[in-house]
Symmetry: C2
Subunit: 168 residues, 2 copies
């Protein structure tokens, strides 16, 4: 019954457009700062931030690719840039010789630490300043639910022609 339902009512349409506009403006502002202050694109920052957030500062390429919405080749490209700048290292995994372990370097951690405060500040000013505590709680609840839902059926890096769906 996927195509029997109508499109979107006006409230949904408004919320959809507002969501895209808000996230677009937010990313634009944040990206601008990251480039000016740390010579980082938003994607590169996300990669570094994920590594810093990870338990031991190290993740497999695949894990990173699943996190960010990129193709593997795209991640290889970005990782190459970060590697060249000494912000990460790449080394083969002992567990699985096919895998590559990406690790943040001290320089990478330092860079994140340097840009993070102002980054957070911009986000707060643009996104959270006009919000009440109740707003924030509501937003968190809704987005959390939506994110879980979206992750359940992830068409992210589904690229190989075979497997997955036999409906074709």
């Amino acid at each position: 019954m996927d195509d029997a339902t109508p499109g979107l009512n006006s409230e949904q349409l408004g919320a959809y457009f507002a969501l895209m506009e808000v996230s677009s403006l937010l990313q634009y502002a944040v990206d601008e700062h990251l480039r000016a202050e740390g010579d980082l694109s938003y994607v590169q920052f996300q990669i570094l931030a994920r590594l810093v957030d990870s338990p031991e500062g190290r993740l497999r390429m695949t894990d990173l690719a699943d996190g960010v919405v990129y193709s593997r080749s795209g991640l290889t490209y970005q990782a190459g840039l970060l590697d060249k700048r000494g912000l990460i290292t790449r080394s083969p995994s002992r567990d699985d010789e096919r895998s590559v372990i990406v690790a943040v370097t001290d320089a990478g951690r330092a860079l994140v630490a340097r840009v993070l405060p102002e980054h957070a500040d911009r986000v707060r000013q643009l996104l959270f300043d006009p919000m009440s505590g109740a707003d924030l709680a509501a937003l968190s609840a809704v987005l959390g639910r939506v994110r879980t839902h979206m992750r359940a059926a992830p068409p992210r890096s589904a690229k190989p022609r075979a497997g997955r769906n036999r409906t074709d």
Copy 2:
């Protein structure tokens, strides 16, 4: 007091990441459909949709550039593509000879009408299916407030070196 406040608490940080991830996944899914079905990028679709939404199906280039987060040259590029495909027309304004009026053609309207239903369907499936009515109301309220706030101080197409701020 802009820089005296701390960054973000964990709830804010979580909401921020969730917002960016949700919007990113949503745009990814929608963009994919637009390209496959209508050979349109998300930006091109936004331009067409805005024109269709406008009173007479016509807007100035500047109005379009203000709506989408683009540089003027970027808009000229995209408008050129749409013009080449016969989806829009561009003509000088009578009111102000400097301005260019962009108008949707019938073909443009037809294309939007063709892709819109499934577009809306994807948005509904990904974004609104996991939401209750209360969720939607809360989301609309919050995003509406944030959008207004962001639009109040828009660093969008602030590019010329002169004017605007005399603090230099």
